[in-house]
Assembly symmetry: C2
Homo-oligomer: 123 residues x 2
């Protein structure tokens, strides 16, 4: 199976100064990979941590991935998701016009995620 | 049932300039309240949004709640959760020495929450 037929998923998080901040993101990545070897999964960050989203997309394109889906692992949708994120995606698409680049709504929009949080709050 | 026998849950989020950022937090609050009328649930924020955590705790104490659990609705644990949050909690406890004030680990530490995010990523 060539990479061009495989889909890559890029988790996009805010980033923080403390390296331990990314631990849940690493766990989510491992969960997805344990579920299916069909997915290449990478982490990327808006600020304070690396790699950035454009760096990850450049690398995946170099490795011949032609279908990349980005999932913003943000709960709330403020300026980072409504303004910064679409602008970054747009730049990446312009740099790689042949790439199938898509994005899901932020994880905080997903009912299952919110239900899991609500359940945790009362357990 | 007096308030003193009821438990209050306070969700603690980061906050953002865009008011729409708090929408998922409102949904989580509504889910918890729909599940059980036994819980009083309030939102609080670290910065950029109000009310703050100390403001909410002061108000709940005024209303005779004597058992308050705070849940940090943060995915990653960086300086906000490791330093700012314990310092704020400590101040609140000092101000209200008779209050049973407790905190859960951040939602990003919960396996069920991470699994829900991983599931969303591949759906």
């Amino acid at each position: 199976m060539s990479n061009s037929s495989r889909k890559a998923i890029v988790l996009f998080g805010h980033g923080a100064r403390d390296e331990r901040w990314k631990e849940p993101f690493i766990k989510i990545k491992e969960m997805i990979q344990a579920e299916s070897a069909a997915y290449r999964v990478e982490l990327s960050f808006l600020e304070l941590m690396s790699p950035s989203l454009p760096e990850v997309i450049d690398q995946l394109v170099l490795e011949a991935y032609s279908d990349i889906e980005v999932i913003p692992v943000f709960l709330g949708q403020g300026g980072h998701i409504r303004k910064d994120f679409p602008a970054i995606l747009d730049e990446c698409q312009k740099k790689h016009p042949g790439l199938r680049l898509s994005a899901k709504p932020a994880v905080g929009e997903n009912l299952g995620v919110l239900q899991a949080i609500a359940k945790y709050c009362t357990n």
